[in-house]
Amino acid sequence: MADLKARIAKRCAKEFKNGDFVNLGIGLPTMVANYVPDDVIVTLHSENGFAGLDAAATAETLDVDIINSGGQYVTVLPRVKYFDTADSFGLVRGGHVAATVLGAMEVAENGDLANWIVPGKKVAGMGGAMDLVCGAREVIITMLHTQKGNHKILKKCTLPLTAPKCVNLIITEMGVMRVTDKGLVLEERYEDYSLDDIKAATGCDLIIADDLKVLPAED
């Protein structure tokens, strides 16, 4: 499982271009930072108040005034810029964040995303997720393709939406899918999953790209 998540994070890191300002969600999306190539300079947004997030803090590097959006003490890059919440989300809504990488409970073939609430369960709140998926120029979902065998990629979401029609790209351990006007297009698959495996694990129609790339299992 850890390896599958690493595969997803590694593939996602290839989406970033030099100079991109990017927001990574908690969990699997956070792992993406570990795989960004050295020659691609990416600035990470911490929506609680800065651009230039680095690594988790240790007892030696800890500064009680610096946490990330998950509340963990972290360190920052020399080029860090701190700002308040209004400015932070101005950057988001204004389209200045190139991409946001998030997990999902459900994604629909038209790009609808549900990842913030399950009715009847303990409520956490959307935090900055609704702003991010509305404002970032690209919304990338990184997740395992299914949840205990249940479909997460669906014709229509059953849970309350974080935002309609916001997802651009879905990256799972099975492959890479892009949301298009025609539907969900499978652009890449990992060779250890057949087309039939992927179709069976997906709750909506998949359009297979003419130039479908097959990625090696060791990736």
């Binding site: 911490s46 919440t85 974080t162």
Partner: protein, 241 residues
């Protein structure tokens, strides 16, 4: 010179049961602990609290840097002083969902960027703000914090939610440095809601970590104008791990 300096207990003396307060901080980083402690001592009840989140409970965050006491708004929740929490995230401090389950706490969720702009609108004289955040979600269909229906407005083919200003009786703010007129700045990631909340309440109280004389610092040090600050309380300390 106007003297804005009061003790913490004097500063919160006017806070009454049932009032609406706003508190700076993000998971308690940047929350004014001396003012929260004074509210707990006063024992005021049935508050409506506007904050990013419910602060931290004892033992949070998990791991080697865990706190030994509740922090920020967590102190008010620990003492059952809050009836209504208006926040963007309520999943961290376990007291929140416990009190929701007990039926003693209700909540209104507002997306984080929208929450900042609603507060900013109240502070800076806007009738509301238009945002695409939340369109097509429960934010459009659920009522707002005062039980009003949401309005949507379409401009040049784009649908926006109209988000109304969010005002409070008191704002509690934690600067890193302030001068004795109330000009202040917040260091690093403690800014969060501590800038927009100034002026969004009838009374703005700051508890700076460091208080300097007027003219002691370069005026460009400060981010927020002291004209917005009514009261200054000394004694706020850096958070001790």
């Amino acid at each position: 010179m106007i003297n804005k300096i009061l003790t913490a207990d004097e500063a919160v003396a006017g806070v009454k049961d049932g009032m609406t307060i706003m508190v700076g901080g993000f998971l308690a980083t940047g929350s004014p602990e001396v003012l929260m402690d004074a509210l707990v001592r006063k024992g005021v009840k049935h508050l409506t609290v506007i904050a990013n989140d419910g602060g931290l409970a004892e033992g949070q965050p998990e791991g080697e840097f865990a706190g030994k006491t509740p922090r920020g708004v967590g102190k008010l929740l620990e003492n059952h002083m809050v009836d209504h929490l208006i926040a963007s995230h309520i999943g961290v401090n376990p007291r929140i969902n416990e009190q929701i389950a007990e039926g003693t706490l209700r909540y209104t969720l507002v997306p984080q960027g929208t929450l900042a702009e609603k507060i900013r609108a109240a502070a800076y004289g806007l009738g509301g703000v238009l945002t695409r955040t939340g369109v097509g979600t429960m934010m459009e269909t659920e009522k707002d914090e005062l039980g009003r229906d949401k309005k949507t407005i379409e401009i040049e083919g784009v649908k926006y939610l109209l988000e109304m200003p969010l005002h409070a009786d008191y704002a509690f703010i934690r600067p890193s440095i302030a001068d004795k007129f109330g000009n202040y700045m917040c260091a690093k990631a403690t800014k969060n809601f501590n800038y927009v909340m100034a002026g969004a309440a009838d009374h703005t109280i700051i508890a700076p970590e460091k208080l300097v004389e007027i003219g002691e610092m370069d005026p460009d040090t400060f981010a927020v104008a002291g004209v917005l600050v009514d009261t200054i309380v000394e004694g706020e300390k850096p958070w001790q791990i």
